[in-house]
């Protein structure tokens, strides 16, 4: 796996609009962005309505994912090109999600919606109708997803990367600064975690920094031991999917999991240890 296998630029995307076998998918939390204009031929996925179980706090199950893909007209052989707002947070989450369910040919658009917009590239309000398919997913790949007991057991043993902002990490804020401060019962971070905010992996236009810059960021600046297994987390698992993409897909670390329960789960658990302040 290398950068060119998983990440494409806007020129590539523009050249593949309408190419059979390539499905462009915008993934957002705020899908009104898609409705105002999207990359021509792109379909949309709603991070919450489409990808989360409506009752339990979990993903849609395998059958639900198969039904979703079939209904949206995505087949097992299609190359799925994902992009979205928020510097690709939700697109990276969807990338991880597609990998979890075993979709092989999936790509992320470098810079996502932001770079596309800042480049003044074409946006369309036409909503394509794709013929239904008969999609078959694989069982969830548990090597990519960390659940809470595994996270608690990893304290002091694996790399724990907290990708939230420094103020969330130290406990001064409970949520990013563009959202009301609410959610978890307690503030702080998982003991032994290093704080490498997701934003350090991205340039101002939303593209990823170079491989050498990324290696330096995690190894030299944050002191991550690349010989150890790693778990990334944030607040609800989408910013950490961005970092999972960097560590697992761009830098090729073999064992990296995303903890999608993240701080909204961990910070509400009874009896688990929490650290406040800077990393120790």
């Amino acid at each position: 796996m290398s950068r060119s296998d998983v990440l494409v630029d806007a020129d590539w995307a523009e050249a593949h609009i309408g190419t059979p076998g390539v499905v462009i998918v915008e993934v957002d939390e705020d899908t009104s962005a898609y409705d105002k204009g999207h990359i021509p031929t792109a379909i949309k996925l709603d991070w919450k309505k489409d990808l989360q179980d409506p009752v339990r706090r979990d993903f849609v199950d395998k059958t639900g994912f198969e039904a979703l893909m079939s209904e949206r007209g995505i087949s097992n052989d299609d190359t799925v090109l994902l992009y979205g707002g928020n510097n690709n947070w939700f697109a990276a989450y969807a990338y991880w999600y597609f990998r979890l369910y075993g979709h092989d040919k999936v790509l992320l658009l470098d810079g996502g919606r932001k770079k596309w917009e800042l480049d003044s590239r074409e946006l369309s309000t036409d909503v394509p109708q794709r013929p239904k398919t008969d999609y078959t997913a694989r069982e969830q790949d548990s090597s990519l997803r960390a659940l809470r007991d595994e996270v608690v057991a990893a304290i002091g043993k694996r790399n724990l990367v907290d990708v939230r902002s420094p103020d969330e990490f130290t406990g001064r804020l409970l949520a990013p600064a563009h959202l009301p401060q609410e959610q978890a019962q307690r503030a702080g971070h998982i003991p032994t975690a290093r704080n490498v905010p997701w934003s350090k992996a991205a340039n101002e236009d939303g593209t990823f920094r170079s491989d050498s810059e990324l290696r330096s960021l995690y190894q030299d600046e944050a002191g991550l031991d690349f010989g150890r297994d790693t778990i990334a987390y944030c607040r609800i698992g989408e910013r950490s999917a961005h970092t999972w993409f960097v560590l697992h897909e761009l830098l090729g670390l073999p064992d990296v999991k995303n903890y999608d329960g993240s701080w909204t789960e961990y910070g509400s658990l009874v009896g688990v240890p929490i650290e406040l302040g800077e990393a120790r």
Partner: protein, 105 residues
């Protein structure tokens, strides 16, 4: 104001003017971006901390608006818009206050 349990942008961008009396311990920074008096609806507002450290980013709303729930203190607000536009302002936020920052590009 939506936001739910997500980290993303509020649906439909943001509306200016948080309702008075609902701020509590929030330190709000909000404003509008305009070009020759007209709202800039395509662009991004970034909130940066000490040393230009990234804190948060939102897409501009239909009215060119943006809003952040910050902590009290000094911040830099940077606006990105098509055509390589990059403008920034210094801003002070305080608990229970709405600090207005309008940016003409």
């Amino acid at each position: 104001m939506s936001g739910g349990d997500g980290c993303g942008a509020p649906a439909g961008g943001v509306r200016a003017s948080a309702a008075a009396g609902t701020l509590g311990s929030q330190a709000v920074v909000e404003g509008r971006v305009t070009r020759e008096g007209a709202p800039v609806a395509t662009g991004y507002a970034r909130l940066l901390g000490t040393g230009d450290e990234f804190v948060a980013e939102v897409p501009l709303g239909e009215d060119g608006g943006f809003r952040f729930f910050a902590a009290p203190g000094s911040w830099t607000l940077r606006v990105l818009a098509p055509g390589g536009v990059r403008a920034q302002r210094s801003v002070e936020a305080g608990y229970g206050q709405v600090t207005k920052v309008d940016v003409a590009i």
